[in-house]
Symmetry: C2
Subunit: 268 residues, 2 copies
């Protein structure tokens, strides 16, 4: 098959998305890619594949916290390889926790073993790059994510290296945020559409505490389930950065930069 309907040069690279971690985060990334693409007819949209195989992928936080031995990176890498074999030139994974090196390195090893020409776009690097542009003179970045993402210091180390100051809430509040994400009776993973009022309230309270008690300059939603519940781009006059949205923009830039909308296109 030939991509005949794109008249620019070079052709856009196909975007491959590792979905299923969780399913709604994959769908949310697809939505944000469409939203950030300059398009007025179907044919303007970028080629994209979402492979959502949640049943194949063992739980991530439990592996990172030492509660299971099975490295989800094996199966994630299998899905990445499958996407590359189907022609993906750019791959993204809407799950911050799965970017932990113990998982991601295993996955990328399997992807690169295919020998195919494919670029992995990291959600962590995308978000930190965006933070640096937002806070050129440094700043306090209020971090929300799973307990595993916070404990493995995925964002903290990357933000500090970039000259920014990561700020997290206390253990008790972080455990509550974790429940808002994954509690089977009210969390976003179980109730995504619509989100339960309880999960949304916990997440908004955590954001409020970061602003009022920790005096952060930006709130970073560093778990792809959180923006499914919290869609505001400002809270208490503080910018909220959604890592999924930033990843969507970086994937478009890597696929076909001239099709990336500017923030003013989005607001207009």
């Amino acid at each position: 098959m030939i991509q005949r309907f794109f008249d620019h040069n070079p052709e856009p690279r196909t975007i491959g998305i590792v979905g299923g971690l969780g399913p709604y985060a994959g769908y949310d990334l697809v939505r944000k890619i469409f939203r950030w693409t300059k398009a007025s007819v179907d044919q303007d949209h970028l080629p994209l594949m979402l492979h959502s195989f949640p049943g194949w992928i063992p739980v991530r936080p439990e592996f990172l916290l030492g509660q299971t031995q099975e490295n989800p990176g094996e199966d994630i890498g299998g899905i990445m390889a499958q996407l590359a074999q189907n022609g993906a030139g750019v791959i993204g994974m809407p799950c911050n926790t799965a970017h932990s090196p113990r998982i991601l390195d295993t996955a990328l090893e399997r992807l690169y073993a295919t020998g195919l020409d494919v670029q992995f776009v990291s959600i962590i690097e995308s978000a930190v790059k965006h933070m640096c542009a937002l806070c050129p003179n440094g700043g306090r970045i209020g971090l929300m994510g799973t307990v595993a993402t916070l404990q493995t210091r995925l964002y903290q180390d990357a933000l500090e290296k970039a000259g920014l100051e990561p700020v997290v809430l206390g253990d008790e509040e972080c455990a509550l945020v974790q429940r808002a994400i994954s509690d089977p009776s009210f969390g976003v993973k179980a109730f995504s559409d619509p989100v339960s009022p309880k999960a949304r309230q916990i997440l908004l309270d955590a954001a409020r505490r970061l602003v009022e008690e920790k005096h952060v300059s930006v709130i970073l939603l560093g778990c792809t389930e959180i923006p499914v519940a919290v869609t505001e781009d400002r809270l208490l006059d503080t910018p909220v950065v959604d890592a999924t949205s930033v990843l969507a923009q970086e994937l478009i830039r890597a696929s076909c930069p001239e099709r990336l909308k500017t923030p003013s296109d989005i607001q207009g």
Copy 2:
């Protein structure tokens, strides 16, 4: 890769979605599959692939109306074959117009030439089956869709065969609905997220006329762009049936019937 996390028998069949016709309709179907799946953790969701290659697929209405010669069924069939080769056991295509036999027969020929064990679930058959359940004693079905879908009598013939009475608006109103779908300056294909107020208003007006002037018993949204703009399940006390949502339910039933929610699960 083995689907280890499903403990029932038989294993769910992977759902393959031909996206890109248009892109937002593909994403809308994914959302509705997730919404109709019984799941409390990531691993409960069904295996699913969305392949959205809008740039590969020539325009459908123009082919059906004789304005171009290039049959989009060729490339659609190529995407179906690719999904099957990646393990899809059930395939759906969220685009009513592309179910026209001149397109679909060409596509299915290419799919079945793979020799793989795969089932295509028709959005037209799914919607008509649902209508029969909704109107066991017959009824007037108000049909909204593209001009090409209406002119090729895709739904009309199937509804009549099932003992139901299809009702469509006049040519002028149908042309307006077409513009609400595809006009590059305000249509749903160009402005999906959010939809333009103008497109939504045209679609609501058409629905109102079907009820007030044509006295239909049900409104059938027979174009997958329309439910992106019209999300109500009743208008003027008349049930609105979204063919995308019905297709989502039929795909779950074909993949793994025990994971299909009931309507009361959705309302609850």
